[in-house]
């Protein structure tokens, strides 16, 4: 019994040390923005002394960069999520609820998309977007990213919709409802948790996406956070306290979102991966 307790203590201490190592890089950033320029060089990993809010003030007060990036990231991610949810739900409903021939082949056609990462198609995509006049446009990023998120979303949603018993649908049609009624009154309310999973997967993929906007967006006024951070750290190469403050402000929304909903985020991301 004593050894068991001792084992638990060792386990706790070991876990805590690993947690410290894993999170310290993030902590360095969160503290870095509060440091004065001198301290970031003399004591890059320590506690801010004296702490200053000046750098944050400068970034938030300036019109331009930071707010523009946040706006673009929210705009692009929001539009991507909306398109994926609507298109994938409609397609999955058709693939799982309307009994028709050739359904299975179409499903497999979408699932094949899981084999094509964005990187593999990036050059022809660039030419394709150019011929549509979408280079330089946020919609070039949105549509492409939405398309690449369809396979996993359709896979998850179709799997879920298939589990809804056909008796429910029959009951609905006996009561005079069309498939649209069934869709609105039964399927959408039932699928809230699985829609949350899809939203989280698409959110993370879209929010962090770098290569696609790097190729598509040329005007800095359209830049998203990853592009902006890349550009900012090139511009302020020696102003590490500024870069840290900038990164802190950029990841703050994600940190809040993550620690508030961590269970859903972790389960959602891994569920998607395991099913994929």
């Amino acid at each position: 019994m004593v050894t068991k307790k001792r084992y638990e203590v060792i386990r706790f201490i070991l876990s805590a040390i690993i947690a410290f190592i894993m999170f310290y890089p993030i902590l360095t950033v969160l503290m870095g923005g509060f440091k004065e320029k001198g301290q970031i060089f003399s004591d890059p990993f320590g506690i801010p002394n004296p702490p200053t809010l000046q750098t944050f003030g400068e970034i938030l007060g300036a019109t331009g960069t930071y707010w523009t990036l946040i706006f673009n990231s929210v705009y692009i991610t929001g539009a991507t999520i909306a398109i994926v949810i609507v298109f994938a739900m409609l397609a999955s409903a058709a693939l799982s609820r309307i009994r028709i021939r050739g359904q299975k082949a179409l499903f497999n056609f979408f699932i094949m998309g899981l084999l094509f990462p964005l990187t593999v198609a990036i050059l022809p995509l660039f030419l394709q977007l150019r011929s549509f006049g979408l280079i330089g446009s946020r919609w070039g990023v949105i549509l492409t990213q939405a398309a690449f998120n369809l396979p996993i979303s359709i896979f998850i949603l179709t799997g879920f919709f298939r589990q809804i018993p056909f008796e429910l649908q029959d009951a609905c049609s006996i009561d005079g409802g069309t498939i649209l009624t069934f869709f609105r009154k039964i399927m959408i309310p039932l699928s809230t948790p699985v829609l949350a999973t899809v939203t989280i997967i698409v959110f993370v993929a879209s929010w962090n996406q770098f290569m696609l906007p790097l190729l598509v967006l040329s005007d800095t006024s359209h830049f998203t956070i990853p592009l902006g951070v890349m550009q900012y750290q090139g511009q302020y190469a020696s102003g590490w306290n500024q870069i840290m403050a900038f990164i802190t402000l950029s990841i703050l929304p994600v940190i809040i979102f993550y620690f508030a909903l961590q269970r859903y985020v972790i389960d959602g991301l891994t569920a998607g991966a395991v099913k994929g």
Binding site: R11, F12, L14, S15, A16, I18, A19, M22, I26, T28, V29, I40, S42, P44, F45, F87, A88, L90, A91, A94, L95, I98, L106, F110, G113, L115, F116, T119, V120, A121, L123, P124, F126, L127, Q128, L143, A147, F148, L150, P151, I179, V204, W207, N208, F210, M211, P226, V229, M230, Q233, W240, I247, S250, I251, Q262, V265, I266, L269, T270, A273
Partner: protein
């Protein structure tokens, strides 16, 4: 009755087409078409403008040039390194993390779990920039450690030295993705039958024996998924490498995708770049096929 059923079938068909059309069109235009166009472009010596005809048709020349290029070999080797290092270091470490915090009700395990997992949701570019700060030669961690332990004032510039740069980047990949594999293993641990474990302990098995003979065999499914995702992910590494040095110094940290960007897109060599893309795709496909056939297939 028959005509009514027929009407129903037509109605179903219309409904089906309406529902599936938006996703099908978007998917075909932005995913499927570019992949096939890429396969076609890879046979031409083409700058992305003008006609594709007999004059710029190159056959497999792009591919032979590719495999003769020393930077492409570096890139391929770096991708292999990510795969090998992940299998040797990252996945076993993730397994140990899972054993540490994923079982029973250890104090703080929920907090630990979210701290270990956090790097995974962090934007890759931001992760890269953070580690550039940590590796900074003037004041970074390595330089500080060196002056603390070895009492030298020497600057340690891991990212500027071609012989160490890629290993330094691998550390970041290790840190970034370990939490993901840990979570998979934690999910797998829930499926290990406790009776079996208890029985093994009663029979006098020590902890290592329990892990090797009871826990690992019952987690085979999850482990094979984790290996699969690790390998396919490794073929597509880009953002972190880009943030930390864009494939430099002197192309020493080039990976297949940074190579595609630097030698294809940047030089407007769309034929040559497409050939790189096709190689990446075929490598993934071949791995996928062999893995499903020999590893996953064996289990079933």
């Amino acid at each position: 009755m028959i005509s009514k059923r027929k009407a129903g079938a037509t109605q179903n068909l219309i409904m089906f087409v309406l529902f599936i059309a938006p996703a099908l069109i978007l998917f075909s235009v932005f995913v499927v078409a570019p992949v096939f166009q890429g396969a076609f472009y890879s046979l031409f010596n083409w700058k992305g403008a003008g006609p594709l005809n007999r004059e710029n048709f190159a056959g497999i020349e792009n591919f032979t040039r590719l495999f003769a290029d020393k930077y492409f070999k570096t890139a391929l080797w770096n991708n292999m390194k990510v795969i090998i290092f992940s299998l040797i270091f990252q996945l076993p470490a993730a397994f140990i993390f899972a054993l540490l915090i994923g079982r029973g009700k250890t104090r703080g395990s929920v907090l630990f779990r979210s701290l270990y997992f956090f790097p995974y949701i962090l934007t890759e570019i931001i992760a890269g920039v953070i580690w550039k700060f940590i590796y900074n030669p003037q004041f970074g961690l390595m330089t500080q450690l060196a002056s603390f332990f070895a009492d030298t004032k020497r600057e340690i510039a891991l990212l500027a030295d071609p012989s160490t740069a890629f290993n330094a980047i691998f550390v970041v990949l290790f840190w970034k993705y370990i939490g993901f594999h840990m979570i998979l293993y934690i999910a797998g641990l829930q499926n290990v039958p406790t009776e079996l474990e208890d029985a093994a302990v009663i029979d006098g098995a020590n902890r290592l024996q329990v892990i090797r003979n009871v826990i690992i065999p019952s987690m085979k499914g999850v482990i094979s998924i984790s290996i699969f995702l690790s390998v396919t992910g490794a073929f597509n590494v880009f953002d972190v490498v880009w943030a930390m040095g864009q494939g430099g110094p002197v192309h020493s940290t080039e990976t297949l995708v940074t190579y595609l960007y630097n030698f294809g897109y940047k030089r407007f060599a769309f034929g040559y770049g497409s050939a790189v893309a096709i190689v990446i795709f075929l490598l993934c496909l071949a791995f996928n096929f062999l893995y499903q056939k020999y590893i996953v297939g064996e289990e079933n």
